[in-house]
């Protein structure tokens, strides 16, 4: 299974980005082959409006089953993720990616 994180960097030790629509990066962790791949989302800062659904569309293309983030996406983005059948877990905004991953495994994050 692939798991996506909204992050400010590209390593396990990077900080999470609490935002969804304008997150700087996605990190995609593939559990099967233990691989961590970054996706640069910084171009979302060029969007005056509608950054949320656009970013959700990008995430759909990366094909994760689970998204781990901070505050949770806004309404429009949430409806895209729902259609894309991506489960969302929130409350990891202040953690590193590694801490967020552990919190998720231990069931400590809230489902959005």
């Amino acid at each position: 299974m692939k798991i996506a994180f909204t992050t400010k960097g590209t390593e396990w030790d990077s900080m999470m980005d609490p935002r969804f629509g304008r997150t700087e990066f996605f990190l995609i962790y593939d559990e099967e082959n233990d691989e961590l791949k970054p996706h640069d989302n910084r171009s979302s800062s060029n969007d005056a409006h509608g950054a949320g659904p656009k970013t959700a569309q990008v995430l759909f293309g990366l094909d994760p089953k689970v998204l781990i983030t901070g505050n949770g996406p806004g309404g429009n983005a949430a409806s895209v993720l729902k259609k894309a059948r991506i489960d969302i877990y929130v409350g990891a905004g202040d953690m590193t990616v590694k801490e967020a991953w552990e919190a998720y495994k231990e069931g400590k994050l809230k489902k959005f």
């Binding site: 304008r22 949770g72 409350g91």
Partner: protein, 291 residues
């Protein structure tokens, strides 16, 4: 690093004066971000030096190049915003009406229309009198405050806070309930709601809190001018209990706020009565809650 966002829904509740007071109390530990770019007044209290400024571009605007234009009129036909008219025999775009949808440029048979990025204002990084830095912006006329500009101001503030190891960012949030305020709230550690006990104050508080709730954010509330209407103050207090919002403080109606502002000062620098202590206590309470 914690991000505290101050919002009010309605104008004139004292949001900016209170935000500037917190910034003053936090001193060198606090980076200030003014995201209330429609009425960016914080600079009047914190005296930034506008040291570094950069143009800000948002959205697009159609421009017709007369040399390539055959005056066929297809652009005016498809424009739903009545932004293209014929002036002196030339098809011309009215910048105040153009929405930047780009439809005209797409269908122009001679490619005579270009979409220009629109310069909508400027943003700045300034040194302020608290011994810290402030990120702020100034919008041009008819330009919309957008989520993009708010995100830009906040990102710069965050970058500065990280580089200089600051403990806090204080954000003077945008008004209303639209895209800018959503962008103001995004990434917040704590939200301070400033309200006043009037029928409109309560009405707008409830509307904007809906948004805060959507994002699962922790919030506290300051009721300013609480003695103007005891009854509505009680209604607000009941609302806070019901929604589990931290009741930070009730501030009395006090013209000291205006006097301080008139001198270009925060209430902390000028006050002689009890108001200063109440704000000092509020700031401690907020810090205690988020740490």
């Amino acid at each position: 690093m914690k991000e505290i966002v101050v919002i009010s829904g309605k104008g004139g509740t004292g949001k900016t004066s209170i935000t500037a007071s917190f910034a003053f109390l936090g001193g060198a530990d606090v980076i200030v971000a003014d995201c209330d770019v429609d009425a960016a007044d914080m600079h009047l209290l914190l005296q930034p030096d506008f040291a570094r400024g950069e143009d800000f571009y948002s959205g697009e605007l159609a421009k017709i190049h007369p040399d390539n234009c055959t005056q066929c009129g297809k652009c005016a036909e498809v424009c739903r915003f009545e932004a293209i008219s014929v002036i002196d025999g030339m098809h011309t775009v009215d910048p105040l009406s153009c929405e930047g949808c780009g439809y005209c440029a797409r269908i122009c048979p001679t490619n005579a229309i270009e979409n220009l990025s629109m310069n909508v204002g400027k943003w700045y990084i300034s040194s302020i009198k608290t011994g810290s830095l402030m990120v702020h912006a100034r919008l041009g006329i008819g330009a919309d405050n957008s989520g993009k500009l708010v995100a830009k101001v906040k990102n710069e503030a965050k970058r500065l806070a990280e580089e200089t190891n600051k403990d806090y960012i204080i954000v003077d949030g945008s008004p209303g309930i639209g895209c800018p305020v959503v962008s103001s709230l995004s990434g917040a550690s704590f939200v301070v709601l400033v309200t006043e006990p009037s029928v409109s104050g309560l009405h707008d508080l409830k509307r904007v809190y809906e948004l805060v709730k959507k994002f699962n954010l922790k919030a506290g509330c300051i009721i300013n001018k609480s003695d103007i209407n005891e009854k509505v103050t009680q209604e607000i207090e009941a609302f806070l209990r019901e929604e589990n919002i931290l009741h930070i403080v009730n501030l009395p109606y006090d013209e000291q706020f205006t006097k301080a502002m008139t001198n270009g000062q925060t209430i902390i620098e000028s006050d002689t009565n009890g108001l200063k202590q109440m704000i000092v206590d509020s700031w401690s309470k907020i810090k205690l809650t988020i740490n």
